[in-house]
Amino acid sequence: MSELNIQGLSYRYERRQPLILEQVSLTVRTGEIVGILGASGSGKSTLLRLIAGLETPEQGTIRLGARVLSDARVEVPPADRGVGMVFQDYALFPHLCAGDNIAFGLHRMSRKERQLRQSELLELTQMTSYARRYPHELSGGQQQRVALARALAPGPSLLLMDEPFSSLDAELRQSIRTELRAILRRTGTTCLLVSHDREDVEAICDRTLVVADGVWEEGSASTTAADHEDKH
């Protein structure tokens, strides 16, 4: 796991459109879980896509640990960034079962290593008995766990989560949040999570960033998950 450092990042979708991100700078320390809160269209998901390498920034630098992922000259392709991502609607491959979805990013390992890692992740997310099921045979919560396991499997230096609870109903949300925080803590994952729901962020994250009208500010830290844990 490594520290994420972003300096002066700007981005716009098309040339004549206004900037959707303007001179954004932030740091996520190693092992820290940071939440980004903001309304739709505020650019928070775009920030994750830029970090993952799915979009090319107009300006700015993205560093992960000692590596430069993107600056004026360098643009590391997504496959080489070592950044895992959980997509809003999970994007589980419909033609692969849960186990194969989790093993999808382990193609550089030997078969034996791959099987071992797959079982580890299935166990971590309590999905062992569902390994042979296809995504459409899983509930929303189970799909979310598979998506998390798939993103964690290659051992990314940073995990990005884009609205990970938006497809879940309120009750399930509650239990999954607690589970997710436990898993992230257990694996010591550095994580950047995006949500428009304050409760999501407060339940999971150590620290919150709030985006409003293009301004990125540190949120009030009074009610973050870290505080809850401290109190206990």
Partner: protein
């Protein structure tokens, strides 16, 4: 800086390969267009002075009359089966698409013979009922024959598009029209027609392009069109320059029609405001109205499908043993292997460029895809001339290599081979394969590709492990449709085939031209059977979309 990073990021094997493919496809078309810039020869002056006006008028007359009649039939029948219920409606909902399975050039000589003095209709009336029809009453010949045949066998394009549109998106508009007191004719003209305009125009355009491309029907009925003129100047006068000039002019007309279509559809934004449109509840017809609706559909179905197919089956029975010889198996092998190779190339190129278009998020990629698929609107004869010219030039460049390999100086190797015909098929039918793959890609969320990229796979890995398995159905559908279109293709095959290379289509046409109509029945019937498969695929796809 960002632009250069983006270009670097997306410039890869996929893009380069598909750009090369696009160039290869566009080259023959551009070559034809360049014909307009070359100096004219003596022949052309004669063609221009005495024949060109007739050709253009012949084409225009046929396009206008067929276009109007086919559109009228398609629109009326589509509204009938969507807006009303009557006996056999569910059957005619799909059965009225079946005339598409009868290639018009086959229908032309089938009907030409059936309606002649010795044909089944007149001889039955004469021998069984002693009725003698006045000469010229029902015989199909010249422009009347071509217009009838092309309208009856092409109207399903309009029918299918209009019916799909009405079934999927018109429910609330038409019901509102009914609530506001409109019914019958007034509902049809004030609501149904205006809202269906895009579907009607799209259908009418397909008919127009088919008529402009037609060679078989016009030449059988002796109608002078630009397409038949291209054949005449090429094979009659052996003047390829004038043929190319004619092709270029036809291309100009087609581009003009294309632009006109754009203009006609310019301000239509009333397609569907929501994807959750309510299906239309049809009104029940009773008594005479119901009987008339069933009778009308039955008449069109009988003329457009049942009658010609029954006639072909009967003729096949008469000549089966004579036509089904050792040589026929060879014919089948020619047809199927040629079509199979071309289909493989089309699908490979289609997948390659659809992937490149998906990866390259700029408008240029979309333009590339449109250019690569422009062949569908360009008549086979034009594609053939472009391909021939390019291949002869290629043979010229490769001449030193041929000499080195021991061939005579100036030998035509590529342009006498099957490669040339395959290239023609690829240019002409790229659209069929590409559109199927593109539709398949549209159904795969981009997040799948992005998820695979963040999991450490490169574009190649993403394609093989994620996209290809999900595209399988679309690729198979595209391949089946392309294959069948190629098997049916006549003018391109006639012009580009190597010496002594016959397919089902060319053999059927050859028999018909030689007035051996009964012998033409077996290859024609096989072509109809294959085309039925393609219609079944289209109907299945469309049913899936309606659901």
């Amino acid at each position: 800086m960002r632009a250069s990073k983006i270009i670097r990021r997306y410039t890869n094997g996929w893009l380069i390969a598909s750009l090369l493919g696009a160039a290869a496809i566009l080259l023959p078309i551009l070559y034809v267009m360049s014909g307009l810039l070359r100096p004219v020869n003596e022949n052309w002056s004669a063609v221009k002075a005495y024949l060109l006006t007739d050709y253009v008028l012949g084409s225009a007359k046929l396009v206008l009359s067929t276009g109007l009649l086919a559109t009228f039939m398609g629109v009326l029948l589509a509204w009938l089966v969507v807006g009303y219920t009557f006996p056999l409606r569910r059957f005619y909902r799909w059965a009225l698409v079946l005339p598409l399975a009868v290639p018009p050039y086959i229908a032309a000589y089938t009907y030409g013979t059936m309606t002649s003095y010795t044909g089944i209709i007149q001889s039955t009336l004469r021998n069984q009922f002693d009725i003698r029809l006045p000469h010229g009453l029902i015989e199909l010949s010249s422009t009347r024959g071509a217009m009838f045949t092309l309208s009856i066998f092409l109207f399903p394009y309009v029918f299918l598009l209009m019916r799909t549109y009405l079934e999927r998106q018109s429910g609330s508009y038409i019901e509102n029209g009914r609530l506001l007191g409109r019914s019958g004719w007034s509902l049809f003209t004030r609501v149904v027609l205006p809202i269906s305009r895009p579907a009607i125009i799209a259908g009418a355009m397909l008919v127009t392009f088919e008529v402009l491309s037609d060679y078989g029907v016009a030449s059988y009925f002796g109608v002078q069109t630009i397409s038949t003129a291209i054949f005449q100047t090429w094979f009659g006068m052996y003047d390829i320059d004038s043929a190319m000039r004619l092709a270029a002019w036809l291309l100009v007309i087609i581009v003009a029609i294309f632009l006109m279509e754009r203009l006609l559809r310019r301000n239509r934004r009333y397609g569907a405001l929501s994807s959750r449109s309510k299906p239309l509840q049809p009104v029940r017809l009773r008594g005479w109205a119901a009987a008339a609706a069933t009778a009308g559909c039955t008449l069109v179905f009988t003329i457009g499908f049942a009658l010609p197919v029954a006639q072909l089956i009967l003729w096949t029975g008469w000549t089966y043993s004579k036509v089904w010889r050792a040589d026929f198996a060879h014919l089948l092998v020619n047809t199927l292997t040629g079509a199979a190779w071309a289909t493989i190339i089309v699908m490979a190129l289609a997948v390659l460029s659809a992937k490149a278009v998906r990866m390259f998020p700029l408008a240029g990629a979309y333009a590339l895809s449109r250019l690569m698929t422009s062949g569908y609107a360009i008549p086979g004869a034009i594609v053939a001339i472009g391909i021939l010219a390019v291949f002869i030039a290629l043979d010229g460049w490769l001449s030193p290599l041929y000499v080195w390999l021991g061939r005579a100086e100036g030998a035509l190797v590529l342009s006498m081979s099957l490669t040339m015909l395959l290239a023609g098929y690829v240019v002409r039918f790229m659209a069929t394969g590409y559109n199927a793959v593109e539709a398949g890609y549209d159904k795969i969320p981009r997040a799948y590709t992005e998820a695979a990229l963040t999991l450490g796979h490169r574009q190649g890995g993403v394609f093989w492990r994620v996209e290809l398995p999900l595209l399988r159905q679309a690729i198979l559908t595209g391949a089946a449709l392309t294959f069948i279109e190629i098997v049916k293709e006549l003018p391109l095959t006639l012009l580009l085939r190597p010496f002594n290379f016959d397919t089902l289509a060319t053999r059927a046409y050859q028999y018909a031209i030689d007035e051996r109509i009964y012998e033409a029945a077996l290859p024609s019937l096989l072509l109809v059977a294959l085309s039925l498969l393609s219609v079944a695929i289209v109907l299945r796809l469309e049913r899936g979309r309606v659901r």
